[in-house]
Symmetry: C2
Subunit: 351 residues, 2 copies
């Protein structure tokens, strides 16, 4: 039991973000149950002490965190609510407007669901790259629907606090334009920059300095995950990337025309605006001290000595979407009523 009232959390999707959340929660004394379509990924997360495996005996969670790829969030949310896994739900996808609309169209319970986006990450992916302090001091954006239940919002707020992050509420469209400029555009541009390096031989690449290293660091990020993210925020990203491409094309044309004599006004203006943008970025960095995650109430559990689960893991029932394994009786029509949830503890509850 933590001071925030968050006792039990289910994390669906044990990638970098899901496992980092699970590690932060476990460290804060929360009981975490984990699920992932891939038994190896699940085993890795468990072996790091991120939690236990979700089973049919796992009791009702105070909060279900959907940390799947963005394109799987809507289906996973629907199924998790249909199974009654938790009292409240959130996700961590880095594009919000499409999910916001689709979850409503799909008929999910929006009063118990708070779309979220912890703005933290690494160029590495998977549970092995997870860190319990990944979110410390970072923004965590929430895009609650009008009429969201207080209790659901409080549960997600507690999640943000326990991870040491800073909550910021924002409309989904504003969120998507912000992350297009701050995250999705830099990602695609960094990838495109690094793509140009494939033409160079190793002797030339060995000349590289810190400038090209820094600008291409995030080009090492997971290709499939980013294809998914960029698609989910396609409109805002296309606007931002198209605008940048036009500016670069104009600068290239001017350089070609003027040559070594210089005096390229567009190039000069771009460099000047670059100076301003960089200064603005540094000036806008939060001046307040970085909050630290809450003190753990229980020691971090020792990692399991082996990745092998005690019982054989059944092959996941893999659908077109989603990473939820507990879907033997997947509903085919709209669910009648989601709330209130019926919490029925089973014999295997670890209470």
């Amino acid at each position: 039991m933590t001071s925030t009232g968050l006792e039990r959390v289910i994390v669906i999707g044990c990638g970098l973000i899901g496992t980092s959340i699970a590690l932060a929660l476990t460290r804060a004394g929360v009981e975490v149950a984990l699920d992932d379509l891939d038994p190896h990924t699940l085993g890795q997360a468990r072996s790091m002490g991120a939690g236990t495996a979700l089973t049919e005996h796992t009791p009702l969670a105070d909060l279900v965190v959907i940390a799947t790829p963005p394109s799987a969030v809507v289906d996973t949310l629907y199924e998790a609510q249909a199974r009654g896994l938790g009292r409240a739900y959130t996700d961590v996808a880095s594009a919000k407007e499409h999910i916001w609309t689709e979850a409503e169209l799909r008929g999910s319970d929006l009063q118990g669901y708070v779309p979220g986006h912890p703005m933290a990450g690494r160029e590495l992916s998977g549970p092995a790259a997870a860190q319990p302090d990944l979110f410390a001091g970072r923004p965590w954006i929430l895009c609650p629907y009008p009429g969201v239940e207080k209790e659901a919002l409080a549960a997600v707020d507690a999640l943000v606090s326990l991870c040491g992050a800073r909550r910021t509420d924002m409309a989904p469209a504003r969120h998507d334009r912000a992350v297009a400029a701050l995250s999705h555009l830099p990602q695609l541009v960094s990838s495109a920059l690094a793509a140009q390096l494939t033409d160079l031989d190793p002797e030339v690449l060995a000349l590289a300095g810190t400038g090209v290293r820094d600008t291409t660091r995030i080009a090492g990020s997971d290709r499939r995950m980013w294809g998914d993210i960029l698609a989910q925020n396609a409109s805002a990203v296309a606007d931002a990337v198209g605008r940048l491409a036009e500016e670069l094309a104009s600068a290239a044309a001017e350089l070609r025309t003027n040559g070594p004599s210089g005096g390229s006004a567009l190039v000069d203006a771009l460099l000047g605006r670059g100076n301003l943008g960089r200064s603005a970025l540094l000036d806008a960095a939060p001046k307040t001290p970085v909050p630290t995650p809450l003190t753990p109430k229980s020691p971090i559990p020792a990692p399991l000595t082996s990745l092998t689960p005690k019982a054989p893991v059944p092959a996941p029932a893999r659908g077109p979407y989603g990473t939820l394994r507990l879907a033997p009786g997947r509903p085919t029509g709209p669910l009648p009523t989601f709330r209130p949830f019926q919490f029925q503890p089973t014999a295997g509850d670890p209470e």
Copy 2:
């Protein structure tokens, strides 16, 4: 006297690179004389212990390092050779082909001049940002003319060694294409990325993470210096920037067409090539241990306590180019013969 035979060096231009070279040489026991059009800049470099001010009494140098902005190199070289300042000459400009051609057209002594480019830098500029170990382990590219004198090449080789750098010889056209991809393209793209941030309000900018921070770090670089560098390498940079802009425009168009349903093949390919380029960059990094600069033969001189020169600094005779102050009798026509130099020590020689 150092073990390399380099006793006296003149550094013209006391910016980041010139002052860093001067600091490295001074630390290695070389007598360094400094010159800069701006008395304040010169005073800063002197106060950091980078050397003494160049005067009419400064003896003939074993090597003259021209560390002016790229567009001033050809004129400064011509003047320095006309004044007979040194036995050999080099420069540090980050574009080489245009200078290579222009120095020949101008009628400079090419047997005593070795065009060079130390591939190191910071996003900061000016002498205050200089560091004696800026070049440690970094590549230093030389583009010698056919028929260069052995002694001149040996002097520049000694400079590279004393700075702890790794010498790589390369044809100027190959150099310029390499730095277009590895340095000039990343600079312009980083500036263009940061330029997009000027549209965002501080509340949104405060959400920024390490990705956008890293990709825009070099956007803080000196605007005028970079305008000059990009112009000097205009053709190769225009090719590289134009190609990147086309790829980004295609990706943006595809994202717009496909929307959240995804399946964008061009975007996926760009992300995939980005992964490959990033891996190639990391793989090509030199595996050998970083060479350390030679042990100093004399202690680093204590910095002067004040920036104020002992004698008033005369206002520089500022021409259309160049940062050379010692040009009271600037030659107007072509110089008859440069070599051999007549070294005539004056009464004020500090020998």
